[in-house]
Amino acid sequence: MKERMIVGLLAAAFVASIVVGLTVAVNAPPVELGGRFGPLRDGYAVVDLVSPIKASTAAKVAARLQVLGRNRRVKAVVVRVNSPGGTVAATQEMHREVVRLREKGVPVVVSVADVGASGAYYVACGASRIFADEGSIVGSIGVISIFPNVEALFEDKLGIKMKVITSGKWKDSGSPLREMTAEEEENFTARIQTIYEQFFNAVKRGRLDAVKKRLAEEGEVDDEEALKRLREFAQGQVFLGEEAQATGLIDEIGNFYDAVAKAKELAGLPDDAPRVADENLMTKILEAMGVREGESPAGVANRLTAVRMEYRYLPGGILE
């Protein structure tokens, strides 16, 4: 009897060790691929924001920033940006996580590739430093909203008349099935202005000091003047990297590796600090294999006619 109990306990302990072992084997944090074998070292992590911004982008990037914030080995984060921006809330979600990371004492350095405009620039404003190449496109601080009107298409071309019945006068505001009324336009304009101010305030919090410093190089500048100049830069225009640096909208001209070096410097990491906490290779492969379903014409039409208010640089594309 005693023997059976002991064997039973040992068997249970064995099963538990296997379960724990499997859990560790699956969930262990990634280490630098091909890196030096040694005790786990502190290093920097890289997050990619390389697509137009929408809810799924935000979910992925914000989740990754959260996870990195809990990883004790991650002492700095470099965000690689190549995006024309996108939807408002998704942008704000990511911006909030960047700021949170900074508040935890983890320097965040943004490296802009081709485009870091509108919503992508909003996200970058939360970072400790922004790097871009001379020819990168940054800025486009503003909001855009497109209200297609397909009434003529349906009635004249397709012979389809639509009758809409709503419970309140605002329920079908912005409907693509009719002309927008003056009152609706006023209402939407007010919303867009509010969203724009949210963007401007984020830029102000993140970049006003840098803009002041740049202007100070030309002469004495007070807060009001700096704010006025910042407002001038925030009328939706884009800037090349070197122009943005001259205005203070970005910090330095440099490529990704310059951004990494700065991140290490800000975090007090040695020059040979490794890149850590990469996403699991198999996860990347599975994502790359993920089915992007071919969209039906109805899907495209739906997206084109949906009302959107976005922080987006239009030449970056409107379909995603």
């Binding site: 023997e3 059976r4 499997l22 280490v31 074998f37 040694g38 699991n280 198999m282």
Partner: protein, 189 residues
């Protein structure tokens, strides 16, 4: 009965191996073999996280499956060779009994995963060195149990059982060396 055999292997291994002459222990032998192989595979997977981080949930079962299958195949091949070498050394016994004894002798290897989990937090060379040392100790323990199993199943002396246990590895190494030399010679020519 199974629990008694398992308990006896841990506490009185020689007596337990002697009992196998008359007692059927196929079930506990298979369970022990499977547990040992799984533990070795998981233990190495745990330690490998120091190099490559976590594994995906797709890759890991494939790796574990392959490890267990090849381990079982190796157990069968080495067990068969040992039966042959024990016969050459003058022993007389049934291969089925020896395979059960050989499987039960793998019991210490079930500690591979706990060993890996214990050393993992140390990280780096220290973890690797300690894990290798632990595996060597567990393998030595397992080998001693194998020798005890050969002695009791085939009625051989300790010395003869020792030789019978080592001969299969000598044979396998000789075949491997022959294959590599042949391939090497063919490549050179």
């Amino acid at each position: 009965m199974s629990a008694d055999v398992a308990y006896a292997i841990m506490t009185h291994p020689v007596e337990a191996m002697r009992k196998l002459r008359t007692v059927k222990a196929t079930g506990v032998a298979v369970a022990t073999l499977f547990a040992a192989l799984l533990s070795v595979a998981v233990g190495f997977a745990v330690l490998l996280t120091l190099f490559t981080g976590g594994k995906s949930v797709i890759v890991l079962p494939v790796y574990l499956g392959l490890a267990v299958v090849t381990g079982a195949a190796a157990w069968f091949v080495v067990g068969g060779l040992t039966h042959a070498t024990a016969g050459v050394m003058g022993g007389y016994g049934r291969i089925g009994k020896f395979l059960s004894a050989y499987a039960l002798a793998m019991m210490p290897l079930a500690l591979c995963t706990p060993a890996a989990l214990i050393v993992l937090p140390l990280g780096g060379w220290v973890a690797l060195a300690l894990f290798v040392l632990a595996c060597m100790c567990l393998s030595l323990w397992s080998w001693l149990l194998t020798v005890a199993g050969i002695m009791e199943v085939y009625g051989l002396s300790a010395g003869a059982a020792l030789v019978a246990s080592l001969l299969p590895y000598v044979l396998i190494s000789a075949v491997q060396a022959l294959v590599f030399i042949t391939i090497g010679a063919a490549l050179i020519m």
